[in-house]
Amino acid sequence: VSREITGADTARGELLRSQSVASYDGAEERLFQKLCDRATAEDLIDVAVARTDSPVGELMLAATPRGLVRVAYDLSSFDEVLRELSSSVSPRVLEAPKRLDAVRRQFDDYFHKRRSHFDLALDWQLTRGFYRSVLEATARIEYGHTASYREVASAAGSAKAVRAAGSALASNPLAIVVPCHRVLRTGGGLGGYAGGLDRKAYLLRLEAGE
């Protein structure tokens, strides 16, 4: 008998492979669900992620045990967001929609105008220094109100750093919850928005009650 692997061996291997994975498609959802439940119970997930639908497109939400860490628009791809979370927070990233149920409900309420303030623990670890000060100042702008770039720069401790304030807002890891859409040009121009000006305009109209 030859020690070489023959075509028939390969065919047998292929048969074995196709039969053994045959029931996977039916089992996959249940397997993922169970894994997520067990990993949650055993505290193995450092970054829980979930997707949620909204009038401004699908959103990806991510939370650490400390709180909500990321709200991302579906701009390029969520895979990119996952990779970013993996390298900057922890590679123990897993979809765990249940862990984000409360957050998703608050988003739902916000978009249905039943809520004007997010009541959530936030994990600020993706931003630091002056950028973080700018975003914290932005978090204090109330629903339905706006501020200028100069005002948030000033509130963050440096009235002259208007351009840096703009960069900080563009890097906001917590879109919508930290309402960088409420920051406008002096004089009322929309300025910029990482999620696109259409979204910024939509959120402002929503909050203005239009």
Partner: protein
């Protein structure tokens, strides 16, 4: 704060979607479909727990199958007193041919080492070097186990051309 050194690791969610099927297939053939789901959970839970300590992001696959291999052996050990491996995967009987059932009967007849080695080679598609690593053996022994396993499987009826 600790300085992290795992910048290159993929998010674990991607590991599950990328290798979930192959690990499942390996386990069905290695421990039978009845126990495959539990072993799959054990494998991915253990993997998630240890994931940040993986040093070489390029070797995630063989690292994962090392865990699956261990879980398969644990499962055999736990159940050594009740049923020996004899579970044929569920499938549509209309589609099952003589060759299909033969191959599972023959797989059941392999020794644990042969069966695991054959599964690693043909289901997980690991190289002999990887099989050796996963099974804590030499590459030569890995080849021998695959070869001996194949010799048993060759007794299956000839494949239809």
């Amino acid at each position: 704060l600790q300085k992290r050194s795992t910048g290159e690791l993929e998010p674990f969610a991607d590991v599950v979607s990328q290798y979930g099927r192959a690990v499942y297939g390996f386990l069905v053939a290695a421990v039978g479909s009845e126990r495959a789901e539990d072993c799959w959970q054990e494998t991915f839970c253990a993997a998630l727990a240890a994931y940040p300590s993986v040093r070489n992001p390029q070797a995630v696959r063989s690292w994962l199958f090392t865990i699956a291999h261990r879980k398969a052996i644990d499962s055999h050990r736990d159940s050594a007193k009740d049923v020996p491996y004899a579970v044929v995967p569920e499938r549509n009987t209309d589609e099952a041919t003589d060759t299909d059932s033969d191959i599972w009967e023959l797989v059941a007849g392999l020794s644990a080492k042969q069966r695991l080695a054959v599964c690693h080679r043909f289901i997980a598609d690991l190289s002999y070097a990887e099989i050796a690593e996963v099974m804590h053996t030499t590459e030569q022994a890995a080849r021998r186990n695959v070869f001996e396993g194949l010799r048993v499987l060759r007794r299956a009826k000839k494949q239809p051309a």
